[in-house]
Subunit: 128 residues, 2 copies
């Protein structure tokens, strides 16, 4: 689901909204983007790649692949499959994974706050 904030949340479902998407690219590869961040958040919430994938309507295979790709692009992995879950054996974010999500979301919030006036001006140009 797209993430919204109070500043950009639409009054009606179809009301226009301005939104940032932040991506960190390396060459042609999107190393960090909204999809991977949402997946990390779901893993943190559920302690399980299977449940996280389900909650995002994603196959286990795709979730696993995205996390593996992310881990390989970081200096230190974002998820650890030896920890987490009620009985162990689940998956948890590492301190690096937690920092990654926090920093990404803080960047979005800071950007939205810093640009709120211009964002509203942009939306007001639309005919609804």
């Amino acid at each position: 689901m797209p993430r919204t904030t109070a500043a950009t949340r639409p009054a009606k479902p179809d009301a226009p909204q301005a939104r940032f998407r932040l991506r960190v690219t390396a060459g042609d590869v999107i190393a960090i983007g909204p999809g991977k961040i949402a997946l990390l958040e779901a893993v943190a919430r559920t302690g399980s790649i299977t449940t996280a994938a389900k909650s995002l309507d994603m196959s286990y295979r795709r979730a696993w692949m995205l996390l593996d790709e992310l881990n390989s692009q970081l200096k230190s992995p974002a998820v650890d499959s030896s920890k987490g879950g009620q009985h162990g054996g689940g998956t948890a974010l590492t301190p690096v994974g937690e920092r990654l999500v926090e920093t990404y979301r803080r960047i979005e919030t800071t950007a939205e706050k810093a640009t709120a006036t211009d964002m509203r001006a942009l939306v007001r140009l639309l005919n609804r």
Copy 2:
């Protein structure tokens, strides 16, 4: 071409870079996004939809369609095909079109400046 700033421009072609993409959506439709803004800038530069489309490796048909779609979503059109060009008959941005491009680019710059420290922290998590 993706737009970069001094803050995010990579030292090497494959060095990671953090970038915002700003979209204004209305329901499922992307009313304003990076593609339409780049097209408006090309029209302003060239005074012609044909030349603007060529400069972006885009068909005339697609450029015309994007501009028509954009005009129909705005309270007042962004381009005017009765003006512009050396001998008239070309296409120019209206004051609304100019304001749209200016506001969009200013939002990007403001967001990049406000988040520069966190952006660098994010990029530093990557293993290159």
